[in-house]
Symmetry: C2
Subunit: 398 residues, 2 copies
């Protein structure tokens, strides 16, 4: 209560209560989340401290309830330019977490608060967001695709949400930053930690232009289970999740499972079936996830209906496009060298005699047939010659 | 009627009639097929010759009805070791073509007869068959996959049906031949032609151990539209079609469309999204075709129910498999170097005190924890170290 608060800012005691609660239980803490929802953060913190809570809440909080480092944690966050965002704040991304309760899955408990660093507003950034996730041991192919898709999404105003890990995550963040697009990193450790250390500069850059987010209190180490628990926030903050490369048993698949449980769209990029790093993606597609091969297909799937519809991929145009069956038969019958009359062509093509001349006229109009002294032959240009010596023309697939 | 016929062999006049009919109309000839079905091949041939046929049949046959080369065609076939298989023969693959009429699509007319070369019996070979098709301009990746999948299918007794073209088709036939498995080549030209010429030896080998098939009479050239028309026979003769590589507009996609219209299963192999030769496969998968990444997945899809079920792909096993959440939390809390007591671990893990000791016992049993002079620490072996210096353990995806 020392300094005047901005209008609508949450009360300091609410922030302090949630700071305490964010350390007192190891996420996900579904019983604590429900209890806070029920009695409010200030009373919840008070009763947790005193141990005056229902049995399930006690199980989640008994070990650490005596540890109150709320003030120290808030100070530690402030020291690195971070702050604690609470659900009472107007920047809280409520929509991102409404599906958590609806999922009915205990592990999908919402965070009690979010420590964050950066100029971005969580509620805005999560409005149009895609989680781009994948393997650490990514291949060059996966890194290229992740950067490419992330750049394409960010370029269209979509926030690229990822986990700041080495591999696909890093490529995704960098792809977004490369086009000066919005990106959010969700950590599995304290906001004051740079993990992995090789991404220290990357995390600093994200905090300068986007947002770095975590539910873990300052100082928390990136323990194994926290990566999996964190993945639910990636899935929740984004409208859809895109898995770029993933092994058969991977954190990215966990993110996808969480996303599916939250009713979010799951997309996966295919790759060579000879690559173990694409095996998880293929498994996801076989299980019903959407295969995406171009960023437009992602936009179509997650974008606002009608605005981001994928355009048809460019298809090779051919002079034979739209020809009627009879015209195609006559075209195939046309000899490449020695011109023939319509009687011969009728026999060779096996079509009614009266339809041969109209067909020839259309073929000539398209530059496919040539008329020479009462006889017809194939026009030399524009038609690709067959690769082999037998036959007159060749299809795409023999 | 010169030589005695084997029991149940179709009458010579039936064979001659169908030989005539196989040249008189350019396939597909739905009106002719229906007419033959209605009045029988001998009367149909006689009435076509005289022009005494319904209007639609006349449109299909008027141009060539005066050309009767039945005897010459049968002789030409015999000269290259081929024969004419007719629906009246017990070797006729009736099942393969029943779906043609049911599809209600005019272009999917059954052949009036099949010219064939080789020791294989069509009715047997088509019983368990997969069409393996794809691009001519295949990549090394596609060629490898086609050969690999074909070998796997043929090795399990499935007939590999393909079109003998360069690229994927050739790799598929060779993959089957390499394991001495059954394979059938369906041509878009006469049985006496070797197209493409570079596959002359391959076609000879298929004719020695499998079957080369075509609906086109001897001497017919491989015209462009014939490849597309032929593709319906590929789709029909096989229980499922597997597209290995295909451009966005390709014959393989036509085969897939025919297969779908016939109620057959369509499968596609994914590849790099950066490869145009996989774009057609990805489009097929997006439209509902089954993604297959291993031959076992093909077998599961087309195989006899319950016998060829794909086994789960090998997944990396971990000593942490099956650990309960509390045990995982305790494991994560265990320091790697300085051992700690259970009180410290309770606080660090954030779990109920009474559950810490049972968790430690289980972790010790699995070789994950070590007990030393009243304190616990992480066991050194079997745990992979994190790639980065911060934190204690690392997940698959950060």
């Amino acid at each position: 209560m020392s300094a005047p608060q901005p209008v609508d800012a949450p009360a300091p005691e609410v922030v302090r209560a949630r700071a305490y609660l964010s350390r007192v239980a190891e996420p996900p803490a579904p019983a604590l989340a429900a209890f806070v929802e029920q009695v409010g953060p200030v009373e919840a913190a008070d009763r947790v401290r005193r141990g005056a809570v229902p049995e399930k809440v006690a199980a989640e909080t008994a070990a650490r309830r005596g540890v109150d480092r709320a003030e120290a944690d808030l100070a530690a966050a402030e020291a690195v330019g971070a702050r604690l965002l609470v659900p009472e704040d107007q920047d809280w991304p409520h929509w991102s977490f409404t599906a958590f309760a609806l999922s009915g899955i205990a592990g999908l408990a919402p965070p009690v608060a979010l420590w964050m660093r950066g100029p971005g507003r969580a509620v805005e950034l999560s409005e149009r967001a895609v989680a781009v996730v994948g393997a650490r041991a990514a291949t060059g192919y996966g890194m290229h695709i992740a950067g490419d898709f992330a750049a394409g999404l960010a370029d269209r105003g979509f926030t690229v949400v990822s986990g700041a890990a080495i591999g696909i995550d890093g490529a995704a963040h960098r792809g977004a930053l490369g086009v000066e697009g919005p990106t959010v990193a969700v950590l599995a450790c304290g906001i004051d930690r740079a993990y992995p250390s090789s991404h220290t500069a990357l995390l600093r850059r994200i905090a300068e232009v986007g947002l770095v987010v975590t539910e873990y209190p300052p100082g928390a180490v990136p323990a194994r289970h926290r990566f999996l628990v964190r993945n639910r926030l990636l899935a929740g903050l984004a409208g859809g999740s895109l898995v770029v490369e993933a092994g058969l048993r991977s954190g990215a698949q966990r993110t996808a499972a969480d996303a599916r449980a939250l009713g979010r769209l799951v997309m996966a990029v295919p790759g060579p079936v000879t690559s173990g790093m694409s095996a998880g993606c293929h498994e996801l597609i076989r299980a019903g996830s959407l295969l995406v091969s171009r960023v437009e297909e992602v936009l179509e799937a997650v974008g606002r209906l009608g605005l981001d519809l994928a355009t048809e991929p460019a298809r090779p145009e051919r002079p034979t496009d739209g020809l009627e069956p009879v015209q195609l038969l006559v075209l195939d019958a046309l000899p490449a060298r020695a011109a023939r009359d319509t009687r011969w062509l009728t026999l060779e093509a096996g079509v009614p005699a009266e339809s041969v001349r109209p067909a020839l006229v259309e073929l000539e109009r398209r530059g496919l047939a040539e008329y020479r002294e009462g006889r017809w032959q194939r026009a030399a240009r524009k038609r690709s010659a067959p690769a082999e010596h037998v036959g007159t023309v060749a299809g795409d697939q023999g």
